[in-house]
């Protein structure tokens, strides 16, 4: 082994001396969260997609780095005039990593599984409108819908709708078999997941031969790992305060992209006094967004005034309706009969946006007389008490799913916003395919939740990636949770 390494070293030294290109062909990518298992179609954990989306699993359509939706395993499609049926022509030569061909039966199996009654798919609702999946011939599949759905192609691009095979479904959680440019090799739980290039890939072969995903949850350890160059890329670097140091270091490049994470002060709309819109408005005016972005995120983040990503063309800037105005907040509290303020709880999950942001918000709320008791919780506890138990006053969390304004139409969702008008609007939006009408409706939806002050809208989470200066082709933004390595290469 030692001999071999010496040989390698001298070989590379010789190559360098000769001035020859000696491009690295493997990469180590660090992520903060480790997936609980490896089936993106049966769990909400975004960490699964962060490793597997596009690398191992592909859907009929897919997201590109800029958030656009393009053809994936479907080469082309036709939509009927009434918008009720989609006919997909599948990619010729696409095979699963176990060698079996990807055909219309696999598509039918995958989509039927996703929308089945007992399905545990996290985005089941997105596919509920599909009434039937019909196999026309091995390379053609037809989807029929109950009503027209303008976002069907977008919905099919999610990691939850990737195509899996019935033969390999049993062990998918430990041994994922997809159609992507990389195949799964090994998972050392608590440490890393290894992928290798799929030489039978239907599309352009990736430049990398092998990729290792490492999981480093502690921000200090993350900083040390990047500094020591133990990892080549850290996607979603957890400590924004360290980014200026990497930017100043010529060994590294820092990409600060936009994520789909709307970071909000989630408010329990059913719990008094938050059931009063005036109180929620008072909270909104008590918050100083810029102070939170500067204090908690060291300046990385874009202020938002509604639950929508600012980089989306349909975004409406509504930050003006909830400016930092403590005097107005106090007046609103007085109108609501709470001139002396009130006490509530502020549950904070582990990420620094929540823990640090929470301390700042508690201080800002205290200025207008609202005493928010900080309760630091771990994720499991947060899911239990806040998300499922709905036993909270306020909490801070980043909603990282793309185009997730639809959660406001679910009265049983943890913040419990129940507005029939909004629910009707969302229903109408889902049934509309006309782009300009959709834009209007999306704007109306954003305005409605902003005017109802459902939650405190803080900022769009930045997605910082720190990488070796020689790595190219990384996604800067995170339009979906993914670390797409198919276009990544080393520059020398």
């Amino acid at each position: 082994m030692t001999n071999f390494r010496t040989l390698l070293l001298s070989a590379s030294a010789a190559a360098l001396l000769a001035g020859a290109a000696f491009a690295k062909s493997d990469i180590t990518v660090a992520l903060q969260l480790e997936p609980p298992h490896l089936d993106p179609t049966s769990a909400a954990a975004g960490a699964i997609d962060s490793v597997l989306y596009s690398n191992v699993f592909e859907g009929l359509t897919r997201f590109m780095a800029d958030g656009s939706v393009v053809a994936g395993l479907a080469e082309s499609w036709e939509i009927s005039d009434d918008g009720l049926s989609y006919t997909f022509k599948l990619r010729d030569g696409a095979t699963f990593h176990d060698g079996s061909a990807m055909d219309a039966e696999d598509v039918k199996f995958s989509l039927d599984r996703a929308r089945a009654e007992d399905s545990t798919n996290a985005q089941k609702a997105l596919y509920a409108g599909i009434t039937d999946v019909i196999v026309m011939d091995p390379m053609t599949v037809k989807l029929t819908l109950a009503e027209a759905n303008g976002s069907m192609l977008f919905n099919l691009a999610w990691g939850d709708a990737v195509i899996v095979a019935p033969e390999s479904i049993e062990n998918i959680k430990q041994m994922p078999i997809g159609t992507g440019a990389f195949k799964f090799v090994n998972w050392v739980q608590g440490d890393k997941i290894e992928l290798a290039r799929n030489n039978a890939y239907w599309g352009d072969a990736p430049a990398l031969e092998a990729a290792t995903f490492k999981f480093i949850s502690d921000p200090t350890a993350a900083f040390a790992a990047v500094m020591a160059q133990d990892v080549d890329v850290f996607a979603g670097f957890p400590a924004p305060e360290n980014l200026p140091q990497f930017e100043a270091d010529p060994r590294f490049q820092v990409l600060v992209g936009s994520s789909e994470g709307e970071t909000i002060l989630s408010t329990n709309n059913k719990m008094p006094p938050f059931d009063n819109v005036k109180v929620r408005q008072a909270v909104a005016h008590a918050i100083d967004r810029q102070a939170i972005i500067d204090g908690a995120m060291f300046g990385y983040g874009t202020p938002i005034g509604t639950h929508f990503a600012p980089h989306n063309p349909d975004y409406v800037d509504l930050t003006a309706s909830s400016t930092h105005d403590p005097a107005k907040a106090k007046a609103l509290l007085a109108e609501a009969g709470m001139a002396d303020g009130f006490e509530t709880t502020l549950h904070l999950p582990p990420p620094s946006y929540a823990r640090r942001g929470g301390e700042i918000i508690a201080a800002q709320l205290a200025e207008v007389g609202i005493k928010a008791e900080i309760i630091n919780v771990e994720w499991a506890q947060w899911l239990e008490t806040v998300f499922r138990g709905k036993d909270f006053g306020l909490t801070i969390v980043s909603h990282t799913e793309p185009f997730d304004i639809g959660i406001y139409a679910r009265p049983d969702y943890y913040f419990q916003y129940d507005n029939p008008e909004f629910q009707a609007l969302m229903k109408k939006l889902n049934a509309t395919a006309d782009p300009s009408m959709r834009t209007d409706m999306i704007a109306q939806a954003q305005t409605t939740i902003s005017q109802d002050y459902v939650n405190g809208y803080l900022f769009q989470l930045a997605f910082p990636t720190v990488a070796d200066a020689k790595v190219q082709g990384l996604w800067e933004n995170a339009p979906t949770q993914a670390t797409d390595l198919t276009g990544v290469s080393w520059s020398d």
Binding site: P219, E241, P244, A291, D294, G295, R356, I360, I374
Partner: protein, 273 residues
């Protein structure tokens, strides 16, 4: 000569931090919860004597109030340890060899056998993080320390003539323990109390560091250290200052404990004469 120097340095350091804690009740240079984000991460200067943290809070004020948190937690924890441990130790010594003695001392061994910080984490994990639960967790582990010390110091006393005299005059075990044994072990208890006090401060810092001690916005040295962790590389004073405060306080208390032992411990006192 060396003895009194330890005592003087130790007492001076301890007094410094106790004074800072007491003064913080009526005055701190800045409001300790007041955030001033535009002037964050400043190094020590004329306005903010020890600089500002990542929220622009005044570190000097935070150290003062943090001293209060540490001292309060450690003091009450030692109080619990003494309040429960000493009577147990006295009772065990009074009935040496009895079932009561066995039960008490084996119970103590049991508590001793647990790694204390792990159990403290367990207690705060079950009952929720917070200063009160940290106090209870640290306090429980002080009990066997005091119980053992009291018993071992009291046992030889029971063989002494003055105890026999007291017994001859008709006093019961409880009364002898209170009136004759306890005053003779007080010196030792004071010395041990000082040591346990410094360990209590360390334990509180450890619990706060992992997020199980005093909760924000109440400042605590351990949490200041934890918050500073990712910023050490560009703002080292954020970690050095609370770290230094912990070291100096614990050092001061230990020196004072050593000094007091030299001064008060009857065994050493006897050797010297």
């Amino acid at each position: 000569m060396k003895t009194s120097r330890n005592l003087v340095i130790g007492a001076a350091l301890s007094t410094l931090f106790i004074a800072a804690a007491l003064i913080s009740f009526i005055w701190t240079p800045f409001d300790v919860t007041e955030m001033n984000i535009p002037s964050k991460l400043q190094t020590p200067n004329g306005t903010n004597w020890l600089g500002t943290d990542h929220f622009g809070r005044d570190i000097f004020s935070m150290i003062m109030v943090g001293a209060r948190t540490s001292i309060a937690v450690a003091l009450v924890a030692v109080g619990i340890g003494m309040g429960v441990g000493v009577p147990l130790g006295l009772a065990a010594a009074a009935r040496q060899g009895s079932l009561l003695d066995e039960v008490i001392m084996r119970g103590n061994d049991l508590v001793f056998a647990f790694p204390s910080l792990v159990i403290a984490i367990l207690i705060t994990a079950v009952f929720g993080p917070g200063a009160i639960n940290a106090i209870i967790a640290i306090g429980i582990f002080n009990i066997p320390v005091f119980a053992r010390l009291t018993r071992s110091a009291a046992l030889p006393l029971w063989q002494r003539e003055f105890i026999m005299a007291a017994r001859a005059s008709g006093k019961g075990n409880a009364r002898i323990s209170m009136e004759h044994i306890l005053p003779n072990v007080t010196n030792l208890l004071i010395v041990q109390g000082t040591i346990q006090f410094s360990l209590g401060i360390l334990a509180e810092a450890g619990l706060s560091y992992v997020g199980l001690g005093a909760q924000p916005p109440l400042p605590s040295w351990g949490r200041m250290l934890a918050d500073a962790q990712t910023m050490v590389s560009f703002a080292p004073h954020l970690a050095l200052i609370p770290g230094g405060a912990i070291i100096l306080t614990v050092l001061g208390l230990n020196l004072m404990g050593d000094g007091l032992r030299d001064l008060l411990d009857p065994r050493i006192r006897v050797e010297r004469t």
